[in-house]
Structures are given as structure tokens and as C-alpha cells.
Symmetry: C2
Subunit: 162 residues, 2 copies
DNA sequence: CGATATTAATTCGAAAAGCGAAATATATTT
DNA sequence: AAATATATTTCGCTTTTCGAATTAATATCG
């Protein structure tokens, strides 16, 4: 029996993923950034304060790649680099106000095209879908051990200089 | 009220997307292809027989880009190019057996990490999640008007030469 | 303490991605 | 048949991406 519930769910989930995969590329075009630049900026903005290494790991890019992308984001004045005073090997990355604005004002394609249809569903179904997707998110979150959790200041040396 | 059900669902959905976004990059590495090559190959394999133009549209790449990526996939003997006899402007793209094998044998990260947890859920919950995700897929599918449906032979001229 | 490893990030060189514009060849329209 | 439209490739160029080597700072251990 190849079509058990898990397989069917995966198949449906893949359809969802495929539909959004394309939206993310359109989004990058809309913001005037490349897909990678957009991903990196989003990551930095979400983490508030992080380092190239953490971003590289979370996004599965090489450190060298992050360096060049951040170079551009800095040139565009969307991101700021500053040395970590406590561990001078590290650079701390933060989004500038402009960078935050790009992320915040990015046309939310998912939102635009999705919400309209979603709200037309009967509320019991909305509730059911919410419950299901939250369950899914839990299943998936636990999975990515490498992709450090959002807002992890763990990797940043916060100790006070003596 | 900013936290209506739609917003909550979107937020959870984004967590799911983020988790898989990263997985897809690992996958490309695992198959020895670049991410783009993997996407294109997957697209060709899924559609069984298609054209550069259709792939470009579905993936939101320029035609020129598809040409170069297909060049590589052909060189790797994963994809075949052949002129369409009915419309000689078109090239028909098909995955070779080797290409199909790459797609089929690709470690299914989603599957591996997901199924294990999923099957541990009580079956009523599995059923609920399946129903919800299928509903979601419907909502999203209808959205991407550009991304032609899978297995579309519509764009391929099938008429018999006279 | 001082030598040695480890860690964080950058620079460099090269392959590949990605695209717009021009070119080529085939189809369709008038 | 000429003009127009379509499908794809070729060309030139910029950007992405990464591995390897490099630089600098921190950690370890004898």
C-alpha cells in the first residue's frame, strides 16, 4: 500500500511547497533584490542581531557566499556590520531601518493571494486548517537541527569584557 | 485584531516553508547538482515531456537561463533534447533513465524526517492534517496562474503533420 | 607563559547562474 | 509572399556561489 495517509499528506504538502517556491522568486524581483539577498536580509532582520556564520548555517550557504551577499546588502545600506567587542573575530549583523522596511513592506504574496480565499472557508474549516498546519510546523521545526532557531543569541558572545 | 485565524495559519505555514526551504538546498548538494539544476530536472521529470519555454515560465526563469541549465543537464546525460516534429521551433525535453533515477532516488528529506513523526500521531489527527493540507494545496494551486499545471501537454503541439 | 590548535571571517580564483538583446529558424496571419 | 509572431539559442556581461588559502582573534595545553 503506497498511498497511506503519510504519503498522501506529503504529496499534498509538496503541492503547497511548489506553489510557494515560485512566489518567493517573484518576491525577490519585487523587492529589487536577488533571491539570495532577500533570504539573507530576511534572516538577519528576523534574528535582529547575528553573525555571518550563523546565517550561513541557517541558510545552508557557505560562509564565503554570505560575505559577498552581505557586502552588497551593506552597500545598499540595508544591513550594518560591526565588530563584536567581546569576540573580535565576529562581525555582528543588523538590519538598518531601510533594511527592516524592505522586509516589512515586502508585498506579502502568500498573504495577498491566500487570505482572500481562506476567509471564504467556513470558520470550522479555518480552525481545522490552522490546527493542522501548526501541528505540521511542530513536526518540521523539530527536524531541522542544523538550522538554528530564530532569535538565537546563543552563538553570539555576550560576555562582558573584563 | 491582527491575530485572526488567517494570519495565524500563514505564520505557521511560513514556519513549515522555512524548514523545507533549507532542506531543498541540502538536497541539491546531496544529488551532486546545483539547486537550479535540480529544480529544472525535477520539473522536466515531473512533466515527462515538456519544452524550455514551459519550464522557464513554471520556474520563473528566463528562457536563456533554462537553455544553459539544460545544456548542463544534457551534458550530464540526465536530460534529452529532441526537436518536435510537429513544430520544429520547439525542443522537447525528457529526462533520461539516469535523470529519472536521480529524481526518484533523491533522498527524500521531507519524507525521512517527517514520516517518522507523523505516523506516531493518532490516526484521527493524521486524517485531519491530510484533509487540511489538501485543502491548502487547492487554495494555493488555484493561485499560481502562471505556473502551468503539472503534466501539461497543452503547450506542446501534438497535431499530426499533414 | 608560549606554542599550537581552533574559530570567524575575508579574499581570491574559477565555475555556474541569470538575464537582456540580438540572432536564427519555424509558424501564422494578412 | 511579405510581414508578424513564436520558440529557442547565442552572445556578452554581471552576479552568485563555493572551495582553498589567508588573516586575525581566541582557546587550549604542556
Amino acid at each position: 500500500m503506497t498511498s497511506d495517509i503519510a504519503s498522501l499528506t506529503l504529496r499534498a504538502l509538496r503541492r503547497v511547497l511548489r506553489a510557494t517556491e515560485i512566489g518567493s522568486r517573484q518576491l525577490a524581483v519585487a523587492t529589487g533584490l536577488t533571491t539570495s539577498q532577500w533570504l539573507v536580509l530576511r534572516e538577519i532582520e528576523a534574528r535582529a542581531k547575528t553573525t555571518p556564520g550563523v546565517v550561513a548555517q541557517a541558510l545552508q550557504f557557505s560562509q564565503a557566499t554570505i560575505t559577498t551577499i552581505v557586502d552588497r546588502l551593506v552597500a545598499l545600506d540595508l544591513v550594518q556590520r560591526q565588530r563584536n567587542a567581546n569576540d573580535k573575530r565576529q562581525f555582528l549583523l543588523t538590519a538598518t531601518q531601510a533594511g527592516r522596511n524592505v522586509v516589512i513592506n515586502a508585498p506579502d504574496l502568500l498573504h495577498l493571494t491566500f487570505t482572500g480565499r481562506f476567509v471564504k472557508l467556513p470558520s470550522w474549516e479555518q480552525a481545522m486548517i490552522l490546527a493542522a498546519v501548526e501541528r505540521l510546523a511542530l513536526l518540521m521545526d523539530a527536524q531541522d537541527i542544523d538550522a538554528a532557531p530564530l532569535l538565537d543569541s546563543a552563538a553570539i558572545d555576550q560576555s562582558q569584557p573584563k
